[in-house]
């Protein structure tokens, strides 16, 4: 009898060990079976890819422009420098308000209707900030100064310097406007001196002059 009791105890122990092994195996299944996301597949990167796909879709710009504009704004708020090259071709993509579609309507202004609002790529590039400046310089250097594309790029440069100034420590000796307007003009003048062609040099110089004399800022479009 002691022997059978011993065997029974061993059997129980064996069952417990088997049970524990099975439990461990069951618990391990999710870890073994589930493919872990790669470090790149963070929620932010997934969102970014979706946003980029949205703004790259020319059909959506026609069928659901609001969605495209929201995606542009979101990329700007994420300060996604990788989106700059996708935003530059959209500089002239504009938000159409009801009165733009039907001139007989009055203007019910639930936003400011400023240039960054009318042209969402300006807003997004301004939110991205300084890293967007070289791409904008290329647009100004390569476009007819009277073209909407060039005017929007110049407007974006102007707003970027305003944003840079606003996020810094104010200089009590100078008014804010004096500082950032001249900074923007100086930047374009410098870009003009380094321009690859005489034509680009002249266009950038003209842009710097406009900023210096604060032209066009009221109605760049």
């Amino acid at each position: 009898m002691p022997g059978s009791e011993g065997r029974t105890t061993m059997k129980h122990q064996a069952r417990i060990v088997d049970g524990l092994c099975a439990l461990v195996a069951l618990l391990a299944i999710p870890w073994i079976g589930h493919a872990r996301p790669s470090p790149q597949e963070t929620p932010r990167s997934v969102e970014r890819e979706k946003l980029l796909a949205t703004i790259r879709d020319p059909g959506l710009r026609e069928s659901d422009p609001d969605r495209v504009m929201q995606a542009m704004q979101r990329l700007g708020m994420m300060k996604d420098t990788g989106a700059i090259d996708d935003l530059i071709p959209l500089l002239t993509f504009r938000r159409l308000y009801p009165e733009d579609k039907d001139p007989s309507l009055a203007r019910d202004e639930d936003d400011s209707r400023s240039s960054p609002r009318r042209f969402p790529a300006i807003e997004a590039l301004v939110l991205i900030g300084r890293p967007a400046l070289p791409a904008l310089v290329r647009v100004i250097g390569a476009s007819d100064p009277d073209a909407l594309e060039s005017k929007c790029a110049l407007e974006a440069v102007r707003w970027i310097f305003l944003e840079i100034y606003e996020s810094g420590t104010p200089d009590p000796e100078k008014s804010r406007q004096q500082v950032w307007w001249s900074e923007a003009a100086r930047y374009l003048a410098q870009a003009a001196s380094e321009a690859p062609s005489p034509e680009a040099k002249e266009r950038l110089r003209l842009g710097a002059e406009k900023l210096k004399h604060r032209e066009d800022y009221k109605r760049p479009y």
Partner: protein, 343 residues
């Protein structure tokens, strides 16, 4: 005569006795009424139990639970158990309190810079009546607050200008060609129309918080009138208002603002080029504004209701202010009637 007098005397006596009884009876009734009046005049209490939560200026979260079973005619005992739980699971409590008639328990969690989100207070509330020998309250209550917490207020009009520690002060100037808040016709790069401009101020607790936020605003209701007749094409109900990040200062430490964030808005209205002179437009809008963490979901502020009232009249020199209705052409905290004349 004597007989008659006697008779009269008897009659008088007989008639006086019922009057006396009547007087006593009236006195008794008055006493009852007076007693009832006194009884009802005694302070009477409804039992109550509740919880509360708040954030101190240093980021400490305070919670409390209260059970109130006060009465003057019975012997009541109040009990409360309170627990405060943080988003990360830190807990204070349950704290127990018991006292005659009313009991309050207090809990607190100190500021933890890695523990942001919603803090919950949960209370168990009980009250016992020794005269009746039973529980008279057996309930629970809860409350919640957030860390950080943002208290929203509105600045407008009265010669106010955009706050100097608002990072977007210059952007506002660029768009509207002024720093003034309130009612004006804007210049700048925005459309040149009459507006009621406001600055929404969010005071962040704790004021040392360095994270960022997201502003949200909905148009609760909007109506536009051609003088007295509604133009239904401009009607809006419960729709999201446009987000303008270039007019939002979401950094509570920028510009030396020590825990303030800002949003700027300037709802306006401008006539159509084809409108004849003398054409009157009236716009009435109610807004609701709040703040969330950057997740866009966790609300960390009060709901700020504010409104805009605006009337313009066209002229050969462009739109002019229409001032025929008292208290028109302003923005303020609260809600407005969205009728043409606020009636």
């Amino acid at each position: 005569m004597k007989g008659a007098l006697a008779m009269n005397s008897i009659q008088e006596t007989e008639t006086e006795r019922p009057r006396w009884r009547s007087f006593v009876s009236t006195l008794q009734r008055a006493a009852v009424v007076l007693a009832l009046a006194l009884c009802t005049a005694l302070p009477s209490y409804a039992f109550s139990w509740y919880s509360g939560a708040a954030v101190g200026s240093d980021g400490t979260v305070y919670g409390w639970g209260v059970t109130d079973v006060t009465t003057y005619s019975m012997y009541h005992v109040a009990y409360v158990w309170v627990t405060l739980t943080s988003p990360k699971g830190r807990q204070c409590g349950p704290v127990y309190a018991s006292w005659q008639n009313s009991a309050r328990g207090d809990v607190a969690l100190t500021f933890d810079p890695s523990d942001f989100g919603t803090y919950f207070v949960q209370s168990t509330n009980k009250g016992f009546c020794h005269a009746g020998g039973g529980w008279i309250v057996n309930g629970s209550s809860g409350a919640q607050t957030t860390v950080p917490y943002v208290t929203l207020t509105l600045r407008t009009g009265n010669n106010n200008t955009v706050s100097t520690d608002n990072d977007k002060r210059e952007a506002y100037y660029q768009e509207l060609n002024t720093y003034i808040l309130g009612y004006f016709r804007s210049g700048g790069s925005a459309d040149h129309v009459w507006r009621t401009a406001v600055e929404i101020v969010g005071q962040v607790t704790p004021n040392t918080y360095t994270g960022t936020f997201t502003f949200h605003r909905t148009i609760v209701a909007q109506r536009v009138y051609h003088d007295t007749v509604e133009l239904t094409q401009y009607r809006k109900d419960n729709v999201a208002d446009g987000v303008e990040p270039l007019l939002e200062d979401l950094n509570p430490q920028s510009g030396g603002s020590n825990g303030k964030i800002y949003d700027l808005d300037a709802p306006g209205f401008g006539s159509a080029p084809s409108d004849p002179p003398g054409y009157i437009y009236r716009k009435r809008v109610n807004f609701n504004q709040w703040v969330t963490l950057p997740d866009g979901v966790t609300q960390v502020s009060n709901n700020l209701l504010w409104y805009s009232r605006l009337s313009i009249v066209t002229s050969t020199n462009g739109d002019q202010a229409q001032q025929d209705i008292p208290n028109d052409n302003q923005a303020a905290t609260g809600s407005t009637k969205i009728t043409w004349n606020f009636q």
